[in-house]
């Protein structure tokens, strides 16, 4: 009998990361997969993920609306509770042998609790990563609720084991998003224009990618962060592709500021709500540098050899290659760092995987013992 795996997708980044993994799982006779999209991945304004999933030859088993408007810490918490309430019904019905979760978004903890409390074997991809932001709390709590850990780096394996997980349940498989890069023939990826809103990018000329997310615990600093980014945008001479942030507490302020800014200074900036994953990677590959606080500026960019400016504390502890320079939340300093990275010689590196992650994961899951009893591994 096929093993049933339910993948809970919380946002477009989540989906992008495991898209190829899902396609491979779907083709494998050993497994039956269910894709459940929740929270911001159900919302049109954050990208029609359901359509993208269908275009990729996959299907959505459940679409759960749980995003309570308000964009503050209370509604973020409330949405998490509502999702937990709903997932108890979903998991009961889908009755999976395993639940598969990715990353550290606040909604992931809901899914982890639902699986753990309902005695479903829980697999977590991307445990053990240190970033320096409070999202880490979620990541590590999910680790303590998970039964199998598919980590992406050597350091992550150590961290997960330090937390008391049994080493035999922790596998450093690398990140499936690296497979995606490795397997993409970027020549074939066409960026249809016009995309986004505002200025139309000329790909013959240099451009930056901006991708900056609000800082969850630091509500007021989110405002400063976006303001400084806007200053950077004003001062840079080149074109900018600015990607829309996650739907987090704080996102409202971001949207408002960006929207107001966009209406006044749209002369060189293109604002994009979402790309398909391969489009995003192609955009990334060819940019002068990516500026912001997204993890992809460190993970994917390190493998691709793309220059990156990492702003603020959100990713401060994340492992990285020499493609990254850290900048404080200050537009003058950010611009200096941009100048500096432009001059730096950088190299590609494989901290986050060598592009064979998916193969490894499938092999592990075919042989895993679905034992939900785990003991703390005292060191």
């Amino acid at each position: 009998m096929k093993k049933k795996i339910t993948f809970v997708i919380v946002n477009r980044a989540n989906y992008g990361r495991i898209k190829d993994l899902l396609i491979k799982f779907k083709k494998d006779k050993y497994f039956k997969i269910d894709i459940v999209i929740v929270s911001s991945s159900t919302l049109k304004k954050y990208g029609e993920i359901e359509n993208i999933i269908k275009q990729d030859g996959l299907s959505v088993s459940e679409k759960i609306y749980t995003h309570i408007e308000g964009e503050n810490l209370q509604t973020m918490t409330k949405s998490t509770g509502l999702l937990l309430l709903e997932l108890s019904t979903t998991f009961q019905k889908l009755n999976p042998d395993m639940v598969f979760l990715v990353g550290d978004r606040y909604e992931v903890l809901s899914a982890a609790i639902a699986a753990n409390y309902m005695n479903i074997f829980l697999i977590h991809l991307q445990g053990g990563e240190l970033t320096g932001s409070v999202d880490e709390n979620v990541r590590h709590a999910v680790t303590k609720l998970s039964h199998l850990h598919l980590v992406n780096t050597k350091r992550s394996k150590k961290i997960v084991e330090q937390m008391g997980e049994n080493p035999k349940n922790v596998f450093n498989v690398g990140c499936p998003s690296i497979d995606l890069i490795k397997n993409t023939d970027f020549k074939k990826v066409k960026i249809k224009q016009p995309f986004g809103v505002g200025f139309e990018i000329n790909f013959q000329k240099p451009y930056y990618v901006f991708l900056v997310h609000p800082v969850t615990t630091d509500y007021k600093n989110s405002e400063k962060l976006i303001s400084e980014m806007i200053e950077v945008a004003k001062k840079l001479e080149n074109q900018i592709i600015w990607l829309w942030p996650n739907v987090d507490a704080g996102a409202n302020i971001f949207s408002k500021k960006i929207r107001s800014f966009r209406e006044r200074f749209a002369s060189k900036i293109n604002f994009v709500i979402n790309f398909k994953t391969d489009e995003y990677l192609k955009i990334l590959q060819n940019c002068t540098a990516i500026v912001g606080n997204s993890s992809s500026a460190i993970r994917e960019a390190s493998y691709m050899g793309v220059k990156a400016i990492n702003i603020g504390d959100r990713q401060i502890l994340r492992e990285r290659g020499n493609n990254v320079i850290d900048a404080p939340v200050n537009h003058k300093k950010i611009i200096k760092c941009i100048e500096k990275i432009k001059r730096r010689k950088i190299s590609k590196c494989k901290i986050y995987g060598d592009g064979n992650s998916i193969k490894k994961i499938i092999k592990i899951l075919k042989n895993v013992d679905l034992d939900i009893n785990k003991k703390f591994y005292v060191r």
Copy 2:
């Protein structure tokens, strides 16, 4: 300005453990406390905790009904989601400087998420304990969401620190329930009779205390567990005080079996839904042995020098004194262990504290830096 602390009480055991702590906090000018009772602590059938709290001179700020009937893993999960939804409202309104949580019940994780996501400084009492049951997952996940750890044993301190918490935020204060024992003049505690339902206990003669909880992840084994306990009850010659279990997934089977058993064999057993804490401790102090899988058979009993039979895996890894003998879920073997412990010489021990826990906690909380940014402490 006073520091506001919100204590979330999930059941009567929770309250019993920190009752004196709450009274001390209430009297201290430095603090303003709010007591929020949730889940089974709101239900009459698990004891009128609200009244008990009032009789103790305290008051309930919020009473949140979130217990969805069904007594299975799905409703347990759903109740957790509902509680999270509700606590987001409660914490917004009470606006505490700190939230204080105890133990590892499934509802505690809701409260931990609410506090953590809403950027409220989170204090966890009883982190780091290893028991061998799956409730440990909850406990450790709460640790990863908490900012200050008040642990009860030396080993717990090591475990919390191993998980990456900064040692300066981990304090071994011992368990406040030991203070309670130390400070109670048991001569003054009167047990009013009749209590409970069924046979009236003669305190001049020997009696056992039975306290057995369902095993959350092992739904079917819960049935076996209660059946074997009933066999033990039938075969033991002495009187028995049998305390009602927690309202967990699996509790329904327990209640049904106990109720049916009660109606047929009530000749030597008294069934009690709940005692006040000091009554329970007095009952415990004078019993021949406590039989079951409750933590109090190990924690409180070790300090009091009360003999205990610990059945099954629920507490298998818990630190204990020589007052405890472990027995498998088998009535014949349980009875043998009872015979064995009756002959054993045992001693009191202070693993779980020396009775000065409350004083230590208050001192720590007066001086704590309410910093919600925490970094993983790599070892």
Copy 3:
């Protein structure tokens, strides 16, 4: 293509009433039915309805746990909200052409809102009945949200029409429970003994049936009601079969009182949590009288020619035959009424239908125009 009808069952009485209707619908090729059980119908303590449904050759499409413990007006309201939240997911998934609801329980209003707001054609059975209790509010609100009204009496038709519903959407079909009585061969219905808890009934001797529900808005009066009933029970000489009440606000007080009473005076009373419908009807058919405030004492009993004492205001305005005598909430007066009805000659009557209800309903639903736009019919 088959028309999909979703039936939402809120409790065992609900199911009992439409059991045969469901079986007929299931056999009809024109329809595809889904049965959704919610609230108290999911709980073991109110009868294993899921099993009964299976034994009847039907199946449950969804089982939704929404009953929040507490048994007070707040938890009743909260449960209603939770049910609405859940049904939005259920209706989205089942995607019915019609939703079919019965009666006036508080949960029915949730289902009515979900159907109405989601543009699903809504059929309501038993609209327009006047009882004198506040449950009427729910019934009439459901009428105003429904698109097709299957009423059970002539007066009900008038009432629904008076409320502004278009007469062409209001059909007096009688109650399907009368079909059930008409089509049951009571000689073949065997009552297996022992049933219930307590005294074993001797069917060779006379017995009463007691069935009394708490009064929702009159929380304190519920206590008086159950106390007076207990007095009646003590004073009556004959045997009594006492049926457990609904899981309403106030039910806890009832249970507590009944349980305590049961343990002391169980010498002639048998307490039953639930019968199968045909067993209940047979018990009813042969009793000396039914005493309480249940609608079945008026509806079914009138058709069967069973004597009934109707206590208090809960059914005070309900249409009835000469088989019913009303009594106030006073045990002495209730006993007098019991004596009086015993002497009265009564006749069967067909106010609530002639036993051909199901046939009529199926015909109507086959021809109905699924138009969700309705206009107030001004008179």
Copy 4:
């Protein structure tokens, strides 16, 4: 002791209508008022109502986030359930003697259920109005749950009474929004410029007001409606002030279309998310005509003598003066109607009140008997 009244405000229109009523109630020693804002009234994008309330000298007792994103019928239903869940907590805590509700928005039914189920005396303003849209269902269901009806027109009184309400509980008080108009010195109301987004209005020249809401049950027609309105906007020569619609199912399509339109044709249109009430009325008073499907085009405009084009079925049955012309959802016909109304001589009328509504309401509420038992009034 003061009578406690809780007012539940669901959106800015709700608040605008009863603003002066609230201020009068607040000043009256007989009452203590609580204002609870829910749903779209908590969201910044629909206007900072909380701030407006404060500026009006009032305060918000509770702010309940319940709006689940998705803008479809399922999320609308889910939001209603979530609101019911939350209001059970709010009403328990505020413990009002009366709850006061306005109108027929889908959230109002949640508040009505919460009050009715929790035995709180329920007052409904604006019952009995016929509009021809499905929102009527909500309005009439709320009537059947309410204990006191403050209706706004003679016909409404008849309709509420027809539905079985006791005439002694139905008062035609007129609409408090008419008091607002009567008592406003429009010369003193200053419209600060710039307001809104886009073109700056020249008040020396003629302008139209556009206000069009999506049609709840007619999801697809909402798209047509907004498209036709955009065509009208393109073709009209004068300036337009376009007000943002309600946050209903369908609102997303509206926003998207308007936003896309706005970015291309912003040369004569000003888009406004929200005005303060008096500003809105002044804008209305001086416009050439109001075009759309808002009730205010019929209610307020009739009293003010403002010309109005009412589009589609949403208000088709609403009582109106000769200031209104109905148009189908077709831009050519709408433009013809606009031409027609411009030439028509119209008169002010008092169908919706004479401006003394608030005084009447306060008098009624001071003398009301808070009896929650109501009997259907058979005609």
